[in-house]
């Protein structure tokens, strides 16, 4: 247990200093979401809408920051380790790559939460958002499930990245579609219905919906419970799939020699 915790802390410490504390991730956590929020607010202004729903337009930016930060740090890690030649040292150690990736993704998500914090702060201080009727415990639980869903998706993507360097293109491409399909900055109902069907497979769509309902305090407990259940269930599916993929990846990269190639 001590070993496990020490490994966790060391991984997260190195991750924080090597990858997260850079202008690059600050851009992902803060600049990009701020730009998208600004586009939303300015479009509202251009359309003569004086009161856009801040839960989407501003706080949604925080979700976007968490997601973009996760996609890029989790995947950039593997790529950077591949490039720096440390990936094969990690794989060649007795510690499973899965564990290393898991701790790193955890840190990425915790760091990404600062994006959420910034968005909420901006909503309150700049736009006078009041949080009237907020169901605090439900928001916290929803947020925890959101984090868990993001983490499961993060380790899944990192495994894909370890599989092959070509998948990098694919993973880069995922950032926007998932922001788009999961409705980070608008309700899912804005999407054409066929798109709404695609997003059901992403756990974060459900926890996000629960969190928003809880922020407004409008949802019945039964509804929240079902949203939480769905989110947790799909997250676990992602987790189990990553676990399975991890074993495959470990064999695959040792067959192809992808481990050391740039």
């Amino acid at each position: 247990m001590g070993n496990f915790l020490r490994l966790a802390l060391r991984q997260m410490d190195v991750q924080l200093r090597m990858r997260v504390l850079s202008l690059w991730s600050l851009g992902l956590f803060f600049t990009q979401p701020a730009i998208f929020s600004a586009v939303g607010m300015l479009l509202a202004h251009a359309a003569g809408n004086a009161n856009p729903d801040l839960i989407y337009t501003v706080i949604g930016g925080g979700i976007m920051g968490m997601w973009s930060g996760l996609v890029f740090t989790s995947t950039f890690d593997i790529r950077a380790d591949r490039r720096e030649g440390t990936l094969e040292l990690i794989v060649g150690s007795p510690t499973p790559l899965r564990r290393v990736v898991g701790f790193r993704s955890l840190l990425n998500i915790l760091a990404g939460s600062t994006s959420m914090l910034a968005a909420v702060t901006a909503a309150v201080l700049i736009f006078d958002y009041s949080f009237a009727g907020i169901n605090v415990p439900a928001v916290i639980l929803s947020f925890a499930l959101l984090l868990f869903g993001l983490w499961c998706m993060g380790i899944f993507l990192a495994n894909l990245l370890a599989w092959s360097r070509l998948s990098g293109t694919f993973v880069d491409l995922l950032e926007m579609p998932i922001a788009l399909l999961c409705g980070f900055m608008y309700p899912i109902s804005v999407l054409p219905s066929w798109m709404q069907y695609i997003s059901v497979v992403f756990p974060i769509r459900w926890s996000l919906q629960a969190m928003r309902e809880a922020m407004r305090g409008t949802a019945a407990n039964a509804e929240l419970l079902s949203l939480w259940g769905i989110s947790l269930g799909i997250s676990l599916v992602f987790y189990l799939f990553s676990h399975w993929l991890d074993v495959k990846v470990h064999d695959h990269i040792r067959v192809t020699g992808e481990l050391h190639s740039i």
Binding site: R6, V14, E84, E88, S93, D251, R254, V255, L259
Partner: protein
Amino acid sequence: MPDQKAISTNQMQKTFKTRQGFWRRTTRVTEAVRDVTFEVNKGELFGLLGPNGAGKTTSVKMLSTLLLPTSGTITILGLDILRDTTEVRKRIGFTFGGARGLYGRLTAVENLRYFAELYAMEPALTRKRIPELLELVNLLDRGNDKVETYSSGMQQRLHLARALLHDPELIFLDEPTVGIDPVGARELRATIKELKARGKTILLTTHYMAEADELCDRIAIINKGRIIAMDTPAGMKSGMTSESVINLRTSNENLTALKAILSPIDGKATILCKENTVQSEVSIRTAHPSRVIEVISPWLNTDLIQTMEMRSQTLEDVYVAIIQNEEANG
């Protein structure tokens, strides 16, 4: 009776498939290592020599569990690398040449701590080992500097310290002295000798024949994925022991004339000519040096021969001869 073999491979093979092309993807199959069988005893320092792309690094990566062999078996310290991967990893250490494989924005101590954690080392042990290792590789005073400020020699030495962290029984060193200045390389060789004296088994790959000659108990020469010679350094040299090497330099214009002069010793010597921009070098390997001297001595004070040098055969000569012989016979 415990297994005395540190490494044992049987018909180890590795085939890579690479895909190329923009529109039409073609698959190219590269046989990086074919049919390699050898054993390394515990406590032995074994050298793997060969030209670039011969399959040295691929072999080392298979032996250190980073690549799966396409076929054949590999046993490391009596453990099967496929079945007991984690156990093997706990007991081996490895470095790959070059500046890669370290976190530049962290200090040496931080890098070592990070890897110590990956090897599940107890903190007390880590605290004791890190200064010891930094001292062994002569980096103690720079331990708290960021690795990106290190010279390539220092990084190479830090690689060695990293590989030794968990006190492995078997160490793979892939071109450990590449890119290091002569003083640094000598220090590193001294460190490697010390490790051997402590009873470690070491597998070393290198391009430097003098290094292999100095360090290795046994060497194998690998070319195009196959082992083409395996012996002790002395044994390799004794295979052609009666031979000497005579090197001549001449101007490019006079090369043809010089070749003509050398024609009487055809068949008694192997003559290699290398034309450079200004001068040409003629290298004569022969078992009858006195006959060669006899032939060339009348010309020693002419323009035909600018310099002459004679020495006994080195491991490098043997290596070059073996590789060239291999090339010539396909």
